[in-house]
Point group: C2
Chain length 244, copies 2
């Protein structure tokens, strides 16, 4: 039997691949990892499409009960573990795979879209991003995102800031909050930045603003992320001009 | 009417999303961009699933005839432009979108998996990659990949090398060729590297070897890419140990 780790993509129930859907329909238990990310559609929509019940896998289940609740079951039954976005964007999911290997459980992966490449829509070349960084809640004493940004900037590279979220509490950091944090930590408020909301949907919100303006002007769709561009190629300039 | 730019994912006809498939079935003309990347299944498999004829869009069509052949048609009919992987991994596709905007053509994007995140399967954190680089054919005088690698290494970051391909000629650079190139350009042949073939399929080939060994030991699945890790976290070490 197999543990299928299936990426759901970014927006709604229909972003799962045709292959992913066929497999989910054949699985006996379906878990949705729901504490590192959030879909923008109700879980009932997924259940309707799959014609199956979904079990919510929260942090406690994933981090402390995964072996008994999920992995060992996959010795006897086909199990699907659904991950929002692409399966291995978060370290947790690599850990699950390692533990499955140790238990000799067969794991198959079904990839999907991730925000890391979906930001391509704004028109900055994916080749020209430096290290990705994320801004956590409670960031008064956190400076990693600043260090990463400064290094990328020095190299002329774009920086993608992923923003913290606690999906089960419906708590999502906004681009405005992230911008305020960066300004507070000393980044020039006049620097140009790109705020994104709802990437992966048909109506993503994309704004090109100074960091100061970004801190004041809300983006209303979720999830959100923030980019500060490095050195721009003329085609990148042209792409950004659509969002000014 | 709408120009839908639809990512196909990495491996076969069933990697398209459920949404993507529904839309393709409603479109009047379907183009497949087929010179920057290659699927690992025959085009007939796609046509069978879509119940539609596919028009191959080669470099000439995309770069010189896109306006008359594709964009202007989308003023009156729904058109699908299929892109292997995720739509905006290549600059060409951003250019198409900009030209569509100038012509006031509505464009909707359907994202999918890309090799940039699918490499997550090897267990190195996606957060810890530096700039991506690619190794072209005819690389005797090319040193960009070396410069990028050296900078990433200095920062302790992983480097993903994408390998050149000419899908219409069925010509794909191999991990072995890429490793030989890196050694010839002065990279230590004893350094550990990760060679991948067939990422996105259920049987990806993943090998952890010295660059020297990698240059001698073929990987047989396609497409291929090569990674040289930076500073490793213990969980990353553990993940790599499965492929030694």
């Amino acid at each position: 039997m197999v543990l299928y780790i299936i990426g759901l993509g970014l927006h709604d129930e229909k972003d799962i691949s045709v292959k992913g859907l066929e497999i989910v329909k054949r699985c006996e238990f379906i878990y949705l990892e729901s504490y590192t990310s959030a879909l923008s559609c109700p879980i009932e929509k997924l259940e309707e499409l799959y014609e199956k019940k979904i079990i919510i896998a929260d942090r406690n289940l994933i981090e402390t009960k995964i072996e008994s609740e999920i992995l060992l079951k996959a010795k006897e039954k086909n199990i699907a573990l659904l991950i929002i976005g692409d399966p291995f964007a978060a370290t947790t999911h690599t850990d699950i795979r390692l533990r499955a290997k140790e238990l000799n459980i067969e794991v198959k992966i079904i990839h999907n879209a991730s925000v890391i490449t979906a930001v391509g829509i704004i028109g900055l070349e994916l080749y020209k991003y430096g290290k990705i960084t994320s801004i956590p809640f409670n960031n008064e004493n956190i400076i990693t995102p600043i260090t990463v940004f400064n290094k990328n900037k020095e190299l002329g590279l774009h920086t993608l800031f992923l923003l913290d979220l606690e999906p089960l509490k419906r708590k999502f950091m906004t681009v405005s909050e992230a911008s305020s944090y960066l300004i507070k930590k000393g980044i020039d408020e006049n620097i140009i930045s790109i705020g994104c909301g709802g990437l992966g949907s048909f109506e993503p919100q994309i704004k090109v603003r100074s960091l100061k303006e970004m801190s004041l002007e809300p983006i209303t769709r979720y999830p959100q992320c923030l980019i500060i561009p490095g050195k721009l190629h003329f085609m990148e300039e042209e792409a950004l001009s659509f969002y000014k």
